[in-house]
């Protein structure tokens, strides 16, 4: 295992400190609870948004803390859900009297830990806490026989769009409804060119041959739908977009999100973006907004995911709203 780290046990804490040090104007770190908070808290009377999950997906979630997006992010161990105490601390810190929305990726551990945090908060402070569970990964097929679809790329879009709604002053019901709508209208799928190596494990989580790719992977090295030989990027794009399009609800233009897994350079992501444009044009799907880059990663995995979000006027306006976070910034 070759990584720029100091000690396997300190990876999360060191990275959190580095992140806070690198963005002193944007972020404050509650080191005890491993919670990144906005350096300038939101004004009173606004709905607050928190998220979190296992580490190893940077910039998600800490990189999305800031004006127009999250109020706090809770960092678990690498690929391990944070514990309720962390979310409770985050909720207490960000509550501005209008309630708190938790954005939770659909993994059993995450769902239960956030749920307990909400119970804790309700019991201790009376803060109204809602949760939206993101589950946009179409690679999980039989969701009745599984823990359900996983939350992946769509989570970033939920955080941005619901964040904008909260910033505008919408109430907890509205912000929750918007987050729910974004999740319902988003579908994703990913591909791995190489495995991920978890620092504490020290070896690749799965083996892929020199000419193999794994299609439909999760963001924790979970297995995919099928293994295939290496194919051109356009075929990769097709294998991701076909199942996405088959399950994408609604009509009209989409937001195209081409996301890198951490080990794939921008050059390749832009090639994949071009291929996605061509395929969507053939399919008669208009693209009205885009995001291309490394936003929800899986440590050092080489690979990419594509997310489509079926926009509407309101979601488009909220997507366009100003945002100022370490990883996503526009208009501020």
């Amino acid at each position: 295992m070759k990584k720029l780290i100091d000690a396997v046990d300190d990876v999360v804490v060191d990275a959190l400190q580095g992140m806070a040090l690198a963005h002193p104007d944007a972020l404050t770190l509650d080191l005890e609870h491993r919670v990144l908070l906005r350096a300038e808290p939101k004004e009173q009377g606004r709905v607050a948004l928190i998220s979190g999950g296992g580490s190893g997906h940077e910039p998600l979630h800490g990189g999305f803390v800031g004006r127009g997006m999250l109020d706090a992010a809770c960092a678990g161990e690498v690929f391990t859900s944070p514990v309720p105490d962390q979310m409770a601390a985050a909720i207490a810190a960000v509550d501005r009297g209008a309630g708190v929305l938790q954005i939770v990726k659909n993994y059993t551990g995450d769902v239960m830990n956030f749920e307990m945090a909400a119970e804790l908060a309700a019991a201790e402070s009376g803060t109204e806490v809602r949760s939206v569970i993101t589950d946009d990964d179409v690679a999980v097929e039989d969701s009745t026989f599984t823990a359900g679809r996983r939350g992946v790329g769509g989570t970033v879009l939920v955080e941005k769009i619901a964040g904008a709604a909260a910033e505008e002053g919408r109430d907890l019901d509205e912000v929750t409804a918007i987050a729910t709508r974004v999740n319902e209208r988003a579908r994703s799928m990913g591909v791995a060119l190489t495995s991920v190596t978890v620092p504490a494990n020290g070896k690749p989580s799965f083996e892929l041959g020199e000419d193999e790719i794994e299609v439909g992977i999760g963001i924790h090295g979970e297995p995919g739908r099928h293994r295939s030989t290496l194919v051109p990027a356009k075929d990769v794009a097709r294998r991701l977009l076909d199942p996405i399009l088959a399950e994408l609800p609604g009509e009209g233009p989409v937001l195209l999100f081409v996301n890198g897994m951490g080990g794939t350079p921008l050059l390749e992501l832009y090639i994949l973006a071009k291929d996605a444009h061509e395929i969507l044009a053939e399919a008669g799907v208009g693209i009205s907004r885009q995001l291309v880059g490394n936003y929800i990663t899986s440590l050092d995995m080489a690979g990419a995911s594509i997310t489509l979000l079926r926009l509407d006027e309101e979601l488009t306006a909220l997507w366009d709203a100003p945002v100022s976070t370490p990883a996503l910034r526009r208009g501020l």
Binding site: G76, P84, V140, F145
Partner: protein, 214 residues
Amino acid sequence: MTTTALTTTELEDWLRRAAALLTDHAAELTELDAAIGDADHGSNMSRGFRAVVEALDAGDFADPAALLKKTGMTLVSTVGGASGPLYGTLFLRLAGATGGAASLDAAALGEALAAGVQGVADRGKAAPGEKTMLDAWTPALEAFRGAGDDLAAAVAAGAAAAAQGRDDTAPMTATKGRASYLGERSVGHVDPGAASTVLLWQALADAVSGEAGR
């Protein structure tokens, strides 16, 4: 020296024995989790029970409820993942069910365990047969309650049934937790949470029978 009822002393003994067993078997549990999950169950459980031992070292507990509540809270606060809330809820429900009793005999422990296992099912929205820790807890609870009033005998029966339940998870297809993404490919592997459940029962049996050398 066998025990007929558990006071804070025996409960503490149980938990310290459990911590030792989980640490000794951490690599094994992680190996099981690597096959059908994300290779962290051993480190999750040993991290959690290390923290429980620290809490026991630091604390002074008025009754079983206080000790079990502290254990549950500690697990919730340090384990994370799926097993943290599940084992945490189990101990919190155990605590809730004991009321202010100073000791738990077989009947009282049976009541408490029933509440605890129900807590796991509630928290995990799971049922037996889905290849989770419930597949060890459920038969263990039944065997325990069916074994009568002798605490040592009941715990031994529970431990044996837990082990059988763990082994029975191998042919199951997972439909809950991370292993469910594997579908059919989860068949043939023992569930890691069922395996850690067996270690808890083993520690309890050792504590009740006064087995030496934890």
